[in-house]
Every structure is written in C-alpha cells, then in structure tokens.
Amino acid sequence: MKCVRCRARAEVQLRAHNAAYCRPCFLFVFRRQVERAIDSERMFTQGERLLVAVSGGKDSLALWDVLADLGYDTTGLYVGLGIGVYSDVSHAKVVAFAERRGLPVRVVTLEDEGGGLAVPTVAGLTRRVPCSACGTMKRHWFDTAAVEGGFDVLVTGHNLDDEAARLLGNVLRWQSDHLARQRPVLPATHPRFVRKVKPLFLTSEYETAVYAFMCGIDYIVEECPNAAGATQLLYKDLLNRLEAASPGSKLAFVKEFQRTGQPAFAAAPRESPNDCERCGMPAYGTLCAYCRLVEEVGRKAAARAGAPA
C-alpha cells in the first residue's frame, strides 16, 4: 500500500478517508487536521491562555503535543482521581511528558484538594457508576482550575469516537438538553465557566494513537479499571462494527449532527441556570451537580459510620 501524498510505503490506512499515508505525511496531515478544526470552529487564537486537560492517555497527550508545536500558550491540567496504580502510572506519564517537552503542568489530586473524595470512595458510597461520579468530579475541577488559573479556554482531548458514542447515547434516550450542548465549542455561558473546546472532535482515536506512537509519546495503554462494562464502550463497539461495514459512518454521524441536528436542538428555549449556593457554579436547583454529589457522600458516610456493626 502506497502513501496517497508521496507514493512511499504507507504505514497507516484510514478507511474513513479512503487514504493511506507514510509516517512523515501522516504527521503532516494529522497536525493540519487539528489546525483546521481549531480555525474552522474558531476555538481559540494564539494570544489566549489554554488549559489542556491531560489524563496520560493517547488523546490528550497527542493534542497537547500538537498545540505546543503550533506555538499555543498551553498549560496541562492533570486531575488525580485516586484510582490506585492506574492513577499513579497516568500521573507519572503526564509529568514525564511535560518535563520532556518543557511544558508547565498543574496537578489537582482529589484525595488532597477534593476533600478526600477519590473516585472509588464516591462510587462506593453513592453506588453510582464510577464513570458517572468521575465525570461529575472531573468537570468540576476542570472548571475550577480554569477559572482560578485565569485561563481563557479549557481544551479537552475528546475524539471522534468519544463524540460518536456520546451522540449515540444521547439519541437513544433523546436527551434534547444534552444534544443541544454537544458541540466542539461551548462558549463561557457563566462567570464560573471558561470556553470549552474539543479540537480532536473529527479525529478518530486510531489516528491519535498512531500519532502518539509515531512521535514516541509514552502514554498509558492500559484501560481504566473502572471502565469495564461502561456504556460508552458498548456504544463504541457498536459504532466500530458499523464502521467496519461502512467506513466513514462515524465521521458522517458526528459531522452531519453538528451541521444539521445540533442547531435545531440548540434553538429550543432552555432554562437558565442559577448559581450554586455553595460554590457559585451553574446549578439547576440550589446546588450544582458536584455539590449535590459531595452532600450525598457526606450523608451516606455519616449514616455508615453511625450504623450498628
């Protein structure tokens, strides 16, 4: 198989794009794809300060690498979730990458700064799906770190597969409020929010993995131990089966939703959020999702402590 740009031996085949690339051409095309997403969606400009949420995985580290190469002012944000060895290893990968590239990184450890609320503790006490508790906590600390650090934009490494799986989940339940917010750029709609962007929303996770491999980025290959059986993985598997039979389906699903479906959902009138009574974050009710979670954990921990043995 030959590279479609230079006819050299191809290392990567992208069936969705009906293309194959050698290493230098793939790296060029990958960076250009990210650059185009940033420009076409007007995600941010060179003068702005970017906080890049990094997990130690391929997507966020590949994205950080590209943004740094493109000359953006980036700072990494790692949130330590307290998931045993997995968190230790992912933390070490992020720190090593930042040191190698000479990039600043901020570390928020939930066990220290989050009032001792590591993900396993919260999931165990509330009996929530770990991924659900984790998502609520991460979003809170991402927003907090971005606002308190004076950043203009919060950048996340959500890729095409993440977006397609999320879209499928939202459509299966017709979650119109979620569909209205599923965009590659979310403007800062509240004083405690900064703009949130996803430059990889049209880039598959195969492509980000290939980029990380080719650039020698040492990312965590192991899956989060809590992710086994997660709904998103089921949706990804379904979409990958569809993609194998009909290449380009995921890209069309997400792109066409953004072009035609999302604006219709966004046009529907929505309730404006209040300010959370505790932390000031947007809330539908008196408390935001994170403070409701913290309250529930406190209540259940107290009940457990007071329960007879």
């Binding site: 085949q13 597969d161 989940g169 195969y206 993995a209 080719m214 290959v221 899956e223 993985l233």
Partner: protein, 85 residues
C-alpha cells in the same frame, strides 16, 4: 525491516520455522500463530475490528495489506479508551 532481515538467520539457528508471536496489549497476552497471512486476516482471526488496534512490527506500523509470517514478533495494541457514561 530489521526483523525481516533476521528471519532467515533465526530459521537457520533453530533449524525449524518459528511461529509468529503476537503480543496483545493492553491484555498482556501473547499468542503464537503459524503461517504467512495478511494483517487483515490476522486481525479477523483474532476477532479484532479494523481501525480498533495498531499492528506494530519492530518500530513500524503495518497496514492491513502487509504480510506477517513465521518468526515475526508483532504487537497488536488496542486504541479504544473511555468509560464516561
């Protein structure tokens, strides 16, 4: 390229044709498979969908049309991540 150059020497040293060793990550599992085949066929035999894993030989990635054979050391590294419901 280096792996391919080593193959005849390995065969000569061991006297028999070595099977291909396939390392699956993140499973940390290794399987041995005999015979020459295309990467696409190898993935299908292992029940791996195209586009869900990188196939690595040495420091090179292999496309589905490449051929792998006895004596090769191949890593198949899954690219799927996630969990957020």
């Amino acid at each position: 390229m280096f792996e391919a150059a080593l193959r005849p020497f390995r065969r000569a040293c061991y006297g028999v044709s070595l099977r291909m060793r396939v390392h699956l990550r993140p499973d940390r599992r290794t399987v041995e498979i005999a015979g020459r085949r295309r990467v696409a066929q190898l993935l299908a035999e292992l029940g791996i969908l195209p586009g869900t894993a990188m196939v690595i030989r040495g420091d090179l990635l292999l496309t589905e049309s490449e051929v792998v054979e006895d004596g090769d050391e191949v890593e198949i590294r899954a690219v799927i991540s996630g969990g957020l419901a």
